[in-house]
Amino acid sequence: MDLTRLEINRRTALLTSAAIAANVINPMRAFAQEAPKKGGVFNVHYGAEQRQLNPSIQASTGVYIISGKIQESLVDLDADGKPVGVLAESWESSPDGKTITFKLRKGITWHDGKPFTSADVAFTAMNMWKKILNYGSTLQLFLTAVDTPDPQTAVFRYERPMPLNLLLRALPDLGYISAKHLYESGDIRQNPVNLAPIGTGPFKFVKYERGQYIIADRNADYWRPNAPYLDRIVWKVITDRSAAAAQLEAGELQYAPFSSLTISDMARLGKDKRFIVTTKGNEGNARTNTIEFNFRRKELSDIRVRRAIAHAIDVPFFIDNFLGDFAKLGTGPIPSTSTDFYPGAGTPQYPFDKAKAAALLDEAGYKAGAGGARFSLKLLPAPWGEDISLWSTFIQQSLKDVGITVDIVRNDGGGFLKQVYDEHAFDLATGWHQYRNDPAVSTTVWYRSGQPKGAPWTNQWDWEDKQVDQTIDNALTELDPTKRKALYADFVKEVNTELPVWMPIEQIFVTVITAKARNHSITPRWGSSSWHDLWLSA
């Protein structure tokens, strides 16, 4: 291992990726103020088909990439990440934080011509967000009712205080509205509209050929004046990533969202002037690579062993050589892109130190036996994401050097969730932790104790810490934004010391888009936004 480090000089490694960075940093290349051109077809790579397309009942980028253009949310994020009204014009919260009133925009109609009113908001909130929507159900846990005094006003009543900035930051993803008159009868999950979404957005659903493509055309009577510019959006189902890159180069695709291509293809297309490869516009969808410890294994319940494992892995080397510059050194569960909650670099960190790792293992009583082997662990990697398979191989290689033999056990999607989060048949597990703009949405559940058995991406490590639980609960209902940020800073310090889950790598999705596109990647969650202002130059 040491020989290789000397042999690689960091300069050459950095040089190659620097070239790409140059192209990345100033993707916009100061455009002369061209007038927006109407028309054109925008082909999008759609890697993994979803079972249904209604964003009010399923929170995932795979749904937003399509229905985010057809249905609209109450609120979206503007260029610098601040909430801006879409279906809602204005909002205000009562001092006790238990009543939040939204004033809705007037004159908006659904694609089938019916008017959009507060009744739709009430119905969606109470029957979809609260009952079915993943993460929405926990967010709206204490929502008791939504009053609709007049068609333009929706009043949300909460049993316990709901911090306004938490709600506003969650609604862009968890605030899509569906039409009440379409969903009020019958089982929401079985409603055929889920596969032919009807919304208020800039594009109208046309056709869905399962396994092939989805088409949406321009909505002539969209409420924003003379928008959208594009005539048609086509989402093409291509499961093989190399084939998708080929179609991009052959001009049959114009946009590959959310790192849907392979790392090497993205690096290569970065040097091609026909395309722009950037992480800009994905800040709203940050994620971290994890190492999850199962405390049911005696060795892993010992904090020294967990720290030794953290010290044994040279994360900067892995990022430089395997992920290029689509990733950064992580510092904990809250990524640096979350300007409102990032606690800075003060939290406990575990830099690469093989000697310390070996010492900690000896101290914990696991001496190196014959051939240097101390004990062996089963590592279950999540089966999606090229970076996860590279990262699990790197963990295997690094731990072997400190005497821990790692056996990778492969599963498919269903099998992985069952084995890790339900049957707890794992020693180490690794996958993605999605950060959704606010720690309370999908981050604290990784640490809060008392999570139900079988709930994926939650604390299933057979580990409980009263102090951490207390901090999380306080932060959830703390109304004052500065106090809330401080509480979350304490949360990060506590979990980084105990290290039930280690989140050493921070990544943002990468966008690969044709250089002809204008007004693209202009908001932190642009991939999921409505593209009402997107247009294609000559």
């Binding site: 079972r51 926990t138 399962r210 093409k236 291509i238 093989d240 049959e252 999607g413 269903g414 079988g454």
Partner: protein, 325 residues
Amino acid sequence: MRIIGLAGRRLAASIPTLFLILIGVFLLLQLAPGDTVDALMAQMGGGDAATARELRKFYGLDLSIPAQLANYLWHLVRLDLGFSSIYGKPVATVIMERLPPTILLMTASLSFAFFFGLVFGVIASRAVNKWPDTLISTLGLVFYATPSFWFGLMAIVVFSIYLQWLPAGGFEDIGEVRTGIFRVIDIARHLILPTLTLGLIFLAIYLRIMRASMLEVLNLDYVRTARAKGLDETRVVMGHVLRNALLPMVTLIGLQAGTMLGGSVVVESVFSLPGLGRLAYESVIQRDLNTLLGIVFVSALLVVVVNFVVDLLYARLDPRISAEG
């Protein structure tokens, strides 16, 4: 029509085989870790225990396994293939949507492989042990030895990216809506590379079988009689040898139908064709038992139909068959 009787008997004999497969696969997949709800949650990127329990009830996964099996078979007898949890649609419609690309791909590859296998087989047998024979036989082995996905990927790199002659994937061009002959041409262009990739291995097999069968027939007595009648070599081959040499080739088609669908799983994922092969792969990953069993049922039917056609063809070719009945 005695042949119909013969084929009818084959159909009846395949019913027990069909049930054997379905029950076998059903029980086998019960042992797989995780079920379709886990797969759904994996795809959704979230979901709590409450929604999971409700989904399980909805998909009828809370019943005991024998109850689920009885339920499934009861529906199957009434030709209702059940409901697909991935696509939220009856399995029958899902399969009908995905059938055309697979059928097209299979027939194209089968006919490509059969035709060229036959032609090269005859050439190789006519010049046995001379350079055309060794060249064709070795080429055949090389095609047989090439992993199909590897050939497919390389073909994409060369033909669609580098030479830009053929589309890189998909079943048809979605940009503009084409009708009639243009659509046919467009689909044909999309299917050239997949057919070549899937057909190659079968070409190698047919080539070897045809060569061996030709050499076998050339040794028989009636070929010697034909030569004694003063026929020249080409007439001997065309008039007498070819038809007899075709018999083993025809039976092979029946056997190959099953393995061909297996091969299409890989080819369809490399060329992103929306066929049954990829649907089978997805339904295994997504633990969508109804769809998988539906595919197995349809592919079994496909194999039975192909064997039925093979029987008809064989009876047409060989009068001895229809006489014994």
